[in-house]
């Protein structure tokens, strides 16, 4: 089953305490950050720390990503080489602006998979889109490699590139966020929404999560453990939605058993989008442990 990516918790890769204890907060994914959270002179120590953590810490089935430094910096390629060798299987590539950025990483990963006898294609990529150019190119970025599991949106850098201020209402982000969702949906991968920096403003955070869910995002990047339960709550389907989804799944099952090509429920045809929606609701309900 497709994994849930409702919450991606950023953890700086220079903090051994958080690197071990982040699992306690039960995010769907943890992103160990080697980029913005790490000062230039500590890039090497954070990388070494993450390498050793990946080799020994039990992350209890939580999807582990590393936000590596961009490949155009002096650190990016070494990050990827060392971390993949240590067992990392998901890379979040920052500042993705064009399909060539993904293709370059794809080629490096293919080389490393061969070198270390890792199954071909098993190291996955999530592209972080943080500029106007990246948003415009997001359809090509989302389909640039078979390794893509998602694209994420970074609003802080994006607003800077368009010359806007970030507002509470987020009007300046509306087109970009919708474009990211469309590009991801067309590619059949997840769209992950931007972080919400004000960890004190839980009401504003909940509104933004609701808006992200409404637009079609699969989840949200979070910067503080206290934000996790809010996202999970917003993404938990209602009893009514779960019941309807289960009836759709049951109808498919029955139709398959009877060899029927066309499925109907309550006199209405059940087509592929309805089935996909029902499957998603079931996944979310299981993730929320209400099913």
């Amino acid at each position: 089953m497709k994994p849930l990516r409702r919450t991606m918790l950023f953890v700086p890769a220079n903090n051994p305490n958080m690197m071990v204890n982040a699992t306690v907060f039960q995010p769907d994914c943890i992103i160990f950050d080697l980029e913005d959270a790490i000062a230039l002179r500590e890039k090497d120590s954070a990388r070494d720390l993450l390498v050793e953590a990946l080799k020994t810490v039990d992350y209890q089935g939580i999807e582990i990503l590393a936000r590596v430094n961009p490949l155009y910096t002096p650190f990016g390629e070494t990050d990827v080489r060392e971390l993949v060798k240590a067992g990392l299987r998901n890379i979040r590539l920052p500042m993705t602006e064009a399909k060539e950025d993904i293709e370059k990483l794809d080629a490096l990963l293919a080389e490393l998979e061969e070198e270390h006898h890792i199954e071909s294609g098993s190291v996955k990529i999530l592209g972080a889109i943080e500029t106007a150019k990246g948003v415009i190119n997001s359809p090509e970025i989302a389909t640039a490699s078979e390794r893509m599991t998602g694209i994420s949106f970074g609003a802080e850098d994006f607003t800077r590139t368009i010359g806007a201020e970030r507002s509470k209402g987020g009007e300046e982000l509306f087109v970009a966020r919708s474009q990211i969702v469309l590009s991801a949906a067309a590619a059949g991968i997840d769209a992950i929404d931007t972080v919400f920096a004000d960890v004190e403003d839980m009401e504003g955070f909940r509104k933004e999560v609701e808006s992200a869910k409404g637009l079609g995002f699969a989840g949200k990047s979070v910067i503080h453990p206290s934000q996790i339960p809010v996202v999970h709550d917003v993404f938990t389907p209602t009893d009514e939605e779960v019941e309807k989804a289960l009836r759709v799944m049951q109808a498919i099952d029955n139709a398959e058993k009877r060899g029927l090509g066309v499925i109907s429920l309550d006199g209405k045809m059940v087509d592929a989008p309805v089935v996909a929606r029902a499957a998603k609701v079931v996944r979310l309900a299981r993730g929320a442990k209400i099913l």
């Binding site: 890039k43 090497d44 953590a53």
Partner: protein, 92 residues
């Protein structure tokens, strides 16, 4: 900036450690350990430090560890970084 032969890595935060390596001062290996859990875990910390130094072919120098309750993975990582810095490898 690190002096040649000297490297330091880590922090004095809880669950971390500070490792200082000076490869230039001795002809043998001298490991000095300060730890808030020395009585209980001193042996294990020294075992991990020694293994890591061996892997990195470090046979001489003064190694000072100030431990704040770090787990093995952090001990290994901090020793590695400090030694690499002392050896003057590029930080890239």
């Amino acid at each position: 900036m690190e002096n040649k032969g000297i490297g330091q890595a880590g922090s004095l935060e809880s669950n971390d450690l500070m490792v200082t390596v000076n490869l230039m001062v001795r002809e043998d290996l001298d490991i000095e350990l300060e730890s808030i859990v020395k009585e209980k875990f001193g042996k294990q910390i020294l075992k991990v430090v020694n293994e890591t130094l061996e892997e990195m072919n470090v046979t001489k120098g003064h190694i000072k560890i100030v431990d704040k309750g770090a787990l093995d993975f952090a001990v290994r990582a901090r020793v590695k970084t400090a030694v690499k810095r002392a050896m003057g490898r590029e930080i890239g």
